[in-house]
Amino acid sequence: MVKKILILTLFLYFLTLLQTSFFIHFSRYFPNLILITIVFINFFAPQNEEWWGIVSAILGGFFLDIFSENFFGYYILISLGISFFINFVLKKYVQIPIIKKI
């Protein structure tokens, strides 16, 4: 599990570097890849391991906070909010058999 978290941390870190230094040159409206990744992980994390979504939200939010002008915790709160919302909606209203199987 530690190895998986380490890989996720490195992945989100490099994604933040790409977002802030590389993709900025392409379009001023380039989407926030880190938030998209967080949403993606929350959607497709196995149902009994939804804490992966929360871990990715904290890590992704942390790196976004590092490279942004806002106070520490700004993006962490946003991404945690997104994560909890997705988990809540998935649990209460969505029953996808594929997610259960994984």
Binding site: Q19, T20, S21, F26, N32, E69, L80
Partner: protein, 261 residues
Amino acid sequence: MKIPLRTKILIIVIAIILISSLNFFQKKVKNFFYLISEPIQKVLWQAGMNTSDFFEAILEVKNLKKENEGLKLKIQELLSENSSLKELRKENEILREALNIGLAKEFQLNLSQIIGKDVSRDSILINKGLKDGIKRGFPVITPEKTLVGKISEVFDNFSKVILITDKENSFDAKVVDSGIYGVIKGKGNFQAYLDLIPKNEEIKEGDLLITTSLGGIFPPGLLVGKVKEVKKLDIEPFQQAEIELAFDIKNLDFLFIITNF
């Protein structure tokens, strides 16, 4: 692995407390991350510039011929303007000597490189900080001496530059030819507009805008951009004008910080 709700809440509360406490020494933490990321960010910034230039060149091949013709005409215009300016320069030098006026004190400049941009605001990260004598509020310009922004936050080795297009940024400016004063306000997403122009004043598209000494934020005479579109509404007490900025963030690599003006 199933984690009980109580444990989950406890973990999140501890995480939030830990993260909030980072705010007390955020400058050190951010500086540390910028320090280890700088080599990668420099490479990525350069690669991003080259890649976007490549794709832009492909997309703009169609317009190149038209642009080339326009530029040839512009060269002719500029050549004639240049020759008259040379005459004026000579005249100016003679007058300066005659009046014994010393040259205006040049700015003290500090060269820096851009390494990143904020994801949500018009703010960039440069590789000069407290150790290089950078302080909050210092103006930042391009090598062509056009205004880019001002230092908003200083770390040990890095600084954040808030661009003139950021929503929280506003400063005084004037139109070069007519001397009309207004306030330039940022709109975000690399866009800005000129506000508070009196309704009786006449401004037109293409008018150049420069900074003034009013407000004391920026040194006077720095080029900001040109008027793109004038908006005159009867219900508004003042006129507004969209601005085309003189710099393009995508093509910027090096910047100068004015440390004394």
